[in-house]
């Protein structure tokens, strides 16, 4: 058998995957195993494939993804906690021809920013909202989120979320699907390659909807938080499949 040299392998025709040019070279600040990096990549790939990088304005939240602007090589603002949909509304209204999106976690979107989320959806702003739901406040150290499951332990619900006193996990995606202003509402996940491909299609569609002036697209990505959940990445993905996806069912809720 002939010896295989490295330089014979590294050739353009053998290239099957590369980092999108829209990622900056800054190392991601996310924990190994976390879904944020994958979702960043899918959004940036979608922007690159559509060729809209000079026409896109992003809005980053407060939370683990507060530094999203460091990694995304597009023009981007960082919003006060929960207010990303208001910033996106402000931007889109003065630049209706631009592609505007928010990237928000569950604390940002479903607790402090509930009003801004619901009203942006209800007005049918022609923007895309990407909502990463990992059922916990990751950045501040694993506190209970509006989306924390019943019985799920966190640093502020150490004996498990007691719904009688702490309320129920909020299904934002179901809620906004009921509003006449939303056009495309779907829940995805990114812990298997097949699901990553499906999520990518939904993200692409969200941007295409803006181009067609269709109104608001809302994509929830159910993700893991292995650090906050205090599990290995593999175990957290198993737990996600067995618990999170039971409560937060994947699928397209609305596509008009």
């Amino acid at each position: 058998m002939a010896e295989i040299k490295l330089e014979d392998i590294i050739k353009p025709e053998n290239l099957v995957f590369q980092k999108t040019k829209l990622f900056t070279d800054k190392p991601l600040s996310y924990c190994p195993g976390c879904g944020h990096g994958v979702v960043h990549r899918l959004i940036l790939e979608a922007i690159e494939e559509l060729g809209i990088e000079s026409e896109t304005i992003g809005v980053a939240p407060v939370g683990c993804s507060v530094l999203a602007y460091e990694f995304m090589n597009i023009d981007i603002a960082q919003a006060p906690h929960g207010r990303a949909p208001a910033l996106a509304t402000g931007i889109k209204r003065v630049y209706p021809e631009k592609f505007v999106f928010t990237y928000q976690g569950d604390g940002d979107l479903a607790a402090i920013g509930t009003a801004e989320t619901i009203h942006a959806c209800n007005r049918g702003e022609n923007i895309s909202i990407f909502f990463i739901n990992n059922g916990i406040y990751g950045m501040t150290g694993g506190q209970m989120a509006p989306t924390t499951l019943p019985g799920m332990a966190s640093s502020t619900s150490p004996y498990g979320r007691d719904v009688a006193s702490m309320g129920h996990p909020l299904k934002m995606t179901e809620l906004v699907a009921n509003l006449p202003g939303t056009r495309f509402v779907a829940r995805h996940a990114v812990h298997t390659p097949a699901l990553v491909r499906k999520a990518k299609k939904a993200i692409l569609k969200a941007f295409e909807n803006q181009k067609e002036n269709k109104g608001l697209s809302f994509i929830e990505i159910v993700s893991n938080c292995n650090s906050g959940w205090k599990m290995t990445p593999v175990k957290s993905n198993q737990w996600l499949t067995e618990n999170m996806l039971e409560y937060y069912k994947l699928g397209t809720l609305k596509d008009e």
Partner: protein, 361 residues
């Protein structure tokens, strides 16, 4: 060609927004300034200039729509009254930290809390000292007539873009609600997207122009040394504004032995009080700060060594008086005469206060 009209202060400033070529107004109703958005909606600025007017779900949403849109280099404005302005303070701090230009109108009402809907000047501390968190400043303009409500729109935007800073127009319920004649000027065209790119592409979110780095608007820097450097930069800018942008009005100060110091509605009362006092032979003048920040510190210092006393006439329990005292440095007498909770002084009681607190005090 100018155009003379009889208008409420709130209507005049709304017309000013349209004629100044403002790109968007985002607001939320609150008395006594709801006429601003009502006037804008009725005028259909979308048709007149392409200006966007949107009613938000809260003052929080309104100011964050302003913040987002202001990140793009467009001319953006909101208006509210005291309790609504309190809600916006967090974003004022973000706007300061991330250095975007924006203009906000506060038609002040009585406080604290829900207070009442009558004119007051009790938001001076909040406006000039920073109601939000962190070391920051915003330029504060105090109109005292309907004409100035209109005129200060262009002034505010010029300053906002010159320094990439928030400019607060601090009015009150009297100036907002009263009708006066106002001279309107010609419609200014809104900047085109290309003009915005040509002027502000170094910082504004206009979509990443091929060949340039991506623009980021943020107030976050987790490296404390960097954040300190950013604060040094902000303080340098504030110093420059303090040195160059003070605006004031002087009335009969040449021979004055006493000084009324007042802005907005209380300055109007002092104009009348000055006439009454002068008829009685009391040599009193009026120093009206038009910029509350930057405060006319040098002028007050200069007067402090010449006059026998300052009377700070405020529709508050005494807020601006602290800045007067700091500038006077104990060189002359300083007293405060306030009516508050929405009550306005009569000119006669201002003269009486001058006599009792300064001349005889």
């Amino acid at each position: 060609m100018g155009e003379l009209r009889l208008m409420k202060g709130n209507e005049a400033i709304a017309e000013g927004f349209i004629r100044a070529g403002v790109d968007a107004y985002y607001g939320y109703p609150i008395t006594p300034q709801s006429e601003v958005m009502e006037y804008l909606m009725a005028e259909k600025p979308e048709e007149r200039t392409g200006m966007v007017v949107l009613q938000a779900e809260s003052e929080l949403a309104a100011i964050n729509m302003v913040y987002g849109a202001a990140c793009t280099g467009k001319k953006i404005v909101t208006s509210s009254s005291s309790p609504g302005i309190s809600l916006m303070q967090e974003s004022f701090s973000y706007i300061a930290g991330s250095e975007v230009p924006a203009v906000v109108l506060n038609v002040v009402r009585g406080g604290p809390g829900l207070g009442d809907i009558q004119p007051a000047q009790s938001d001076y501390f909040q406006s000039t000292k920073g109601g939000g968190h962190g070391d920051y400043r915003q330029i504060v303009l105090a109109p005292s007539s309907v004409q100035e409500m209109y005129d200060f729109v262009n002034l505010a935007f010029d300053l906002a873009f010159k320094y990439r800073i928030m400019v607060l127009i601090l009015s009150d319920g009297a100036i907002g609600q009263m009708m006066e004649k106002v001279m309107l000027d010609e419609q200014k065209p809104r900047l085109t997207n290309q003009e915005i790119k040509d002027r502000f592409d170094s910082w504004a979110l206009t979509g990443r122009t091929p060949g340039r780095e991506h623009n980021i608007i943020t107030s976050l820097d987790l490296d404390q040394e960097n954040l300190e450097r950013h604060n040094f930069h902000l303080q340098k800018k504030y110093k420059e504004i303090e040195e160059n942008e003070v605006i004031l009005e002087e009335v009969s100060l040449e021979d004055a032995e006493y000084v009324f110091m007042a802005y907005g509605t209380s300055a109007r009362i002092c104009h009348k009080a000055l006439q009454i006092a002068r008829k009685e032979g009391i040599k009193v003048g009026l120093l009206r700060p038009i910029t509350l920040w930057p405060f006319p510190e040098k002028k007050v210092k200069e007067l402090a060594s010449k006059v026998k006393g300052f009377l700070s006439v405020e529709m508050s329990a005494g807020q601006m008086i602290e800045d007067i005292r700091l500038a006077v440095e104990g060189k002359t007498k300083v007293a405060h005469f306030g009516r508050y909770g929405g009550v306005i002084h009569s000119p006669e009681e201002v003269v009486a206060a001058l006599k009792s607190k300064i001349i005889g005090g």
